[in-house]
Symmetry: C2
Subunit: 330 residues, 2 copies
């Protein structure tokens, strides 16, 4: 069967706003260093102004994954909500420019496009303030059933559970996918997200075909203390593919009787780990849609993660397709 | 069934002779820095003399493992050949002092007791010159059939394949063990050993119940390039337990459908990695004889390895039994 899309993704539509600052700036604006804080529209406007002329880059976890998929030569579609404002237009232009199909209607009123204000201090630390804005308004009406049915895999980010409308949209999309025979992949996104929605995530587990989780997220999901206990829990309680990422320890890919231990792709220096999980998912999903064996999916995934942590920013700066071809992986 | 011994081990009976030297000493005596070189009796006597008043410690890979087993409270027996000379007596006294049963008759003529001359330079590097001497003379007549039959597990080091008589003794011991219902564990010892005897090791694989191998040794055995390929080869081609060690990446324990990924035990600082594999085997075998699940065997193994790499020398300096109890592992 031919699919129009390799992957259709649902995610938060966010623009990253980066600016170099000094530590005094963090103090002056009460910014907690090195962590992510959710902020409201008033504070977002205030900080955005204070950052002067920052660099604006389309971001968002699942959107970053679609950017990576496109860089590998895959066909992706993205669904997520922006407002019809300057940053919303920029988010759309960026995705479309990469060849990712993006047709979710922007909101014509309500909160403005989501943004993540990133203050980068001279020591390389990133202090993030996120305003979710319009991205929270993604709803069941925005779900494009035909698009999901035309995709081989539906990919959903767990971050969306923080917005009730978006969560309802995800549940609808999963139901559409199951009826259409589209596989469902899910990323746990963040250990705190898992903490908040653990029971709900476990409840949808049987509807999922692929889970992406880093070690902390997976421990939170299964409420266990060691990585091996995660592995045993995933294999014993679930039929699907668990793609478990472990930073410099590489990843473990498991599905029932199959287990693969794949090393991290060697790199010279880690510059910025932002986006590692997003690009890991891109590589894994791309290889999976090409019917590659699980170990090969894991290897391509680690290569894509290695590219993105070798530079600042959460999207690839080199053609992943060329890198993968050079490495003999595609 | 009650066993008189938890583990009976066959190995090279070697005394380690350590002395601090400067780099000029290495140059003056043509010692290759940081590697292990096999030497003859003439050179052994010469170097031993030149080292002045060195520290002498009973060593040998499988003997170190029996020392670790004893430190855990296990009952071990060792079979290996020394000469009836000063170092031979020292080797025997050392093992017996730890409570390890050791009754192999010392040779009354022929080469002297094996020794490993270790020149430690101020940078912490260890340059080793090994004289195998009497340890090569272990033969089928030395194999104590009753002792092996009285043990739950027979443990053999692959190093012995370098001595034809000792290799024949090992094959006899394996055959005795199989008839008696004693399980057989084997360590691949060294990637170069595997390179020399790969076909012979593969030929005895079906007679083995447990294999210990570090990553390089296992890759050499299965002739594959990645760790995951080792894991798949071990699971596909063999019924037994593969205990695959990965230094700071911990270990993977696999047996058919069962796979455990166990992290390295956290330590403050690696001082000397000598003996890590030996003590890993001690912990693993001890837990296995107590019918602990494979993941628990792996955890105790990593704790024992962590103890020995935290100080100079290849045998534990703290009671492994107390350490394991403190960690809640036994």
């Amino acid at each position: 069967m031919a699919y129009r899309y390799d992957v259709a993704a649902l995610g938060s539509a966010i623009v990253d706003v980066l600016a170099p600052v000094d530590d005094q700036f963090l103090l002056d604006h009460n910014i907690a260093k090195g962590v992510m804080t959710l902020i409201d529209d008033h504070r977002a406007a205030q900080l955005h102004h204070a950052l002067g002329t920052p660099r604006e880059i389309a971001g968002g976890s699942a959107a970053n994954t679609m950017a990576g998929l496109a860089s590998l030569g895959g066909r992706g579609a993205f669904e997520g909500k922006v407002r019809n404002d300057r940053l919303g237009a920029q988010f759309a232009t960026s995705l479309k420019g990469l060849g990712v199909h993006y047709a979710t209607k922007p909101a014509t009123d309500g909160p403005s496009t989501a943004l993540c204000l990133i203050a980068v201090t001279p020591d390389g630390e990133r202090s993030m303030n996120t305003y979710l804005g319009a991205s929270r308004e993604f709803s069941t009406e925005d779900v494009d059933e035909a698009e999901i049915a035309a995709a081989q895999i539906l990919y959903i980010e767990g971050y969306l559970w923080d917005a009730p409308n978006a969560k309802a949209a995800c549940l609808k999309a999963i139901s559409v996918a199951r009826r259409a025979g589209t596989k469902v992949a899910f990323t746990l996104s963040d250990p705190f997200v898992v903490g908040r929605y653990r029971d709900e995530f476990l409840a949808i587990l049987s509807d999922l075909d692929i889970i992406f989780a880093n070690e902390d997220e997976a421990k939170a999901l299964f409420e266990v203390e060691t990585f091996d206990a995660v592995l045993q829990a995933a294999r014993a309680s679930w039929h699907g593919i668990a793609a478990l990422t472990r930073s410099e320890k590489g990843c473990v890919i498991a599905q029932k009787s199959e287990v693969h231990v794949v090393d991290a792709w060697p790199i010279e220096r880690v510059v910025d780990t932002t986006g590692a999980g997003d690009q890991f998912a891109a590589g894994f999903l791309y290889a999976l849609t090409r019917n590659r064996p699980l170990a090969a999916c894991g290897r391509l995934a680690t290569l894509c993660a290695a590219e993105v942590i070798s530079h600042l920013g959460a999207r690839p700066e080199t053609s992943l397709k060329m890198l993968a071809a050079d490495a003999g992986l595609i």
